[in-house]
């Protein structure tokens, strides 16, 4: 078990996630760190669907779901209600959304809640598409990925745009921001702890592979997540008080090709497209390194 995390499980097994799904690891870690005094507000998506087929539930803490785009607004209401009841101080309030519910349709509600400064930890489990409804593209889908709405056709080769830089947009609201990865749960747990202690809104974006939508073998979930880190496709950083820190750097950068070609969603890529992705990853990484070195207060 992970260092210094309680043995107690508050996320029950028996849910209906696909084999090899990373999302349950996210939920399980949140509840291990948060403990029983945690309330979860969940957006519509895979996590909500596979954990609560009525009358069964995986949640041994209070949990609420209502719509796709409003989880941050619901959490705003819960936050203030607890304040009114005088029980706000001890409770960890977690908002849980997929990348579709966070980057796209729930973005307005998230921004509003961040601006109001509610104390909550928003965790986006990032599987880079709308998985629950059948792998449609989202603002988090990487360029050239084959999804059901950005198919790898003869004329257009998958998604045409790079990913929205949501962590920076969130950081511009003054929140504590971190990225995390299911291959590095201790790092995720540390960031959760930090967010629970932070007196304001926090946002953690967790890299969470989806074998069903990424077309990779179910036993490769953690391996692919590790490769996302080693290739700098998904760097691990924090933005705290507006200053960026890279928490961990790969000892040696692995070419993106090693990551991409393990997944069916990228199997149509040409050499040029892989080179373009490599260049994009490199320039993003250089920017992060420069920002860290500068110690600049970005926001």
């Amino acid at each position: 078990m992970i260092n210094a995390l309680p043995e107690r499980e508050l996320f029950a097994p028996g849910h209906t996630a696909c084999a090899g799904c990373a999302a349950p690891m996210v939920a399980r870690t949140i509840l291990k760190v948060g403990g029983p005094d945690t309330i979860v507000c969940n957006a519509t998506g895979c996590m909500e669907v596979f954990t609560t087929p009525y009358p069964r539930t995986s949640w041994e803490v209070p949990w609420i779901h209502s719509a796709f785009e409003n989880a941050a607004a619901v959490a705003s209401g819960v936050d203030r209600a607890l304040k009114k009841l005088g029980t706000r101080d001890n409770t960890n309030l977690v908002v849980l959304g997929g990348d579709g519910g966070t980057f796209d349709i729930g973005f307005g509600a998230l921004s509003g809640a961040l601006e109001r400064g509610h104390k909550f930890t928003y965790v986006c489990y990032d599987n880079e598409a709308y998985m629950n409804t059948g792998i449609q593209r989202s603002g988090a889908t990487p360029k050239y990925a084959n999804t059901t709405t950005t198919p790898a056709g003869k004329k257009i080769h998958g998604k045409s745009e790079f990913t929205k830089q949501l962590p920076f947009i969130v950081a511009a609201h003054g929140a504590y921001v971190a990225t995390a990865n299911i291959a590095f749960l201790q790092d995720f747990a540390n960031k959760l702890k930090k967010s629970f202690a932070f007196n304001g809104p926090s946002y953690i974006q967790v890299f969470a592979p989806c074998p069903t939508g990424w077309y990779h073998p179910t036993d490769q979930t953690v391996e692919i997540a590790k490769l996302a880190f080693k290739t700098n496709v998904f760097p691990l950083y924090e933005i705290e008080n507006g200053v960026l820190t890279l928490n961990r750097k790969p000892p040696q950068q692995v070419p993106v090709e090693d990551y991409l070609l393990k997944q069916g969603r990228f199997k149509h890529l040409t050499k040029e497209e892989i080179a373009e992705i490599q260049q994009h990853v490199n320039s993003d990484w250089e920017r992060l390194v420069k920002l860290e070195e500068s110690k600049l207060k970005i926001f």
Binding site: T38, I64, G77, G112
Partner: protein, 354 residues
């Protein structure tokens, strides 16, 4: 949120006169979502909206009622775009009539205050647990000033005790709210909602009668209100402020010896078909005024009153008047004209009072 309602509540809060948490949301969708969250967390929750804001909330209306959260909301009734228009009609709330909310329509600012107080008691009754919309005419009530008696906190507290939720988001007693309902359970939840509506009619009446005892004010039996109805042969039916105009016309026509009267429909959901049939069955003709239209059908209130009579052997001729859309004035003359028409016409007419 752009009515005087949140503005005055903000005054109350910022002057320390009202002990509540106010959340200044970025959209109406989030307003109702935040109220959903706070209600589930176990506190009395209220919001206000109007027109496009209500339309934006549509998705969450169904979720609040489906989750059986007793949220109370004021709706300042205004037209829906396009063309964009900021004036009064009932198209907004009528378009939400199937969203699982109790709908109460009011005629005056005082009735709006009183109905809001009653609504919490109705919604939070454990045999009901349904959200309530208090529908008040936009502009005519929401943006016009008239004196109201705001009852003493102590009297209200006695009438309306602290909110006791059935379940709440409680870390000592964790529950799952809003799970996915597969086809084997979904319909049963919907049936329970429908059953709660059946129960709510009795609760609405009881609360109205208790309110009268505590505050000395009443609006019919809380469901329908009669005016000069006992011996009336020709009856006006309407919702909201238009009923105030109708009263003046009825007084005038009564002086001329015409047997006219009014049934004010205060409660539109649950739809009180029995009370309506009882109130109207002795009449020869009825003029239903709708301030909304069901496109491709007729006025929604008209259609439902028609269907309330479908099993009755004796029924009045029921006429449909579409009036006052997008703030068009409904004048004394319009209502008088409607009475004169229904006195003459032998079979049902539909008229747009353009």
């Amino acid at each position: 949120m752009e009515t005087h309602i949140p503005e005055r509540i903000s005054d109350f809060v910022n002057n320390g006169e009202l002990d509540c948490e106010m959340i200044y949301v970025e959209s109406e969708h989030s307003a109702l979502s935040a109220a959903l969250g706070s209600s589930a967390a176990g506190v009395r929750s209220y919001t206000a909206t109007s027109s496009q804001g209500l339309a934006l909330m549509f998705e969450i209306l169904h979720i609040v009622s489906g989750m059986r959260l007793p949220v109370v909301m004021s709706v300042a009734n205004r037209a829906l775009s396009a063309p964009i228009n900021i004036w009064n009609d009932h198209q907004d709330s009528m378009s939400c009539r199937d969203a699982g909310w109790i709908q109460l329509y009011v005629e005056s600012a005082q009735e709006a205050v009183d109905t809001t107080i009653m609504s919490f008691k109705i919604a939070e009754d454990h045999s009901v647990m349904l959200p309530v919309m208090v529908c008040l005419d936009g502009f005519t009530l929401s943006h016009v000033f008239e004196p109201v008696d705001i009852p003493d906190q102590s009297v209200v507290d006695k009438f309306l005790p602290k909110f006791v939720p059935v379940f709440r988001l409680d870390t000592k007693n964790p529950k799952t709210f809003g799970p996915i309902g597969y086809p084997d359970v979904f319909m049963d939840f919907k049936k329970q909602q429908q059953d709660a509506f059946a129960v709510s009619a009795g609760v609405i009446k009881k609360v109205a009668s208790d309110f009268n005892k505590s505050f000395g004010r009443s609006y019919g039996d809380g469901i329908v209100e009669a005016y000069e109805l006992d011996d009336a042969k020709y009856v006006f039916v309407g919702l909201g402020t238009i009923c105030g105009t109708a009263r003046v016309v009825i007084d005038k026509l009564r002086k001329e010896g015409k047997k006219v009267g009014m049934m004010k429909l205060k409660c539109f959901r649950p739809f009180p078909d029995k009370a309506i049939v009882d109130a109207l069955k002795k009449a020869d003709a009825v003029a239903v005024f709708d301030r909304a239209v069901s496109f491709g059908q007729k006025g929604p209130v008209f259609s439902e009153i028609e269907s309330a009579f479908c099993d009755e052997s004796k029924k009045p001729v029921i006429h449909s008047f579409i009036a006052g859309l997008g703030g068009r004035d409904v004048k004394l003359d319009h209502i008088e004209l409607a009475f004169n028409r229904i006195i003459k016409e032998k079979s049902s007419i539909t008229e747009w009072l353009l």
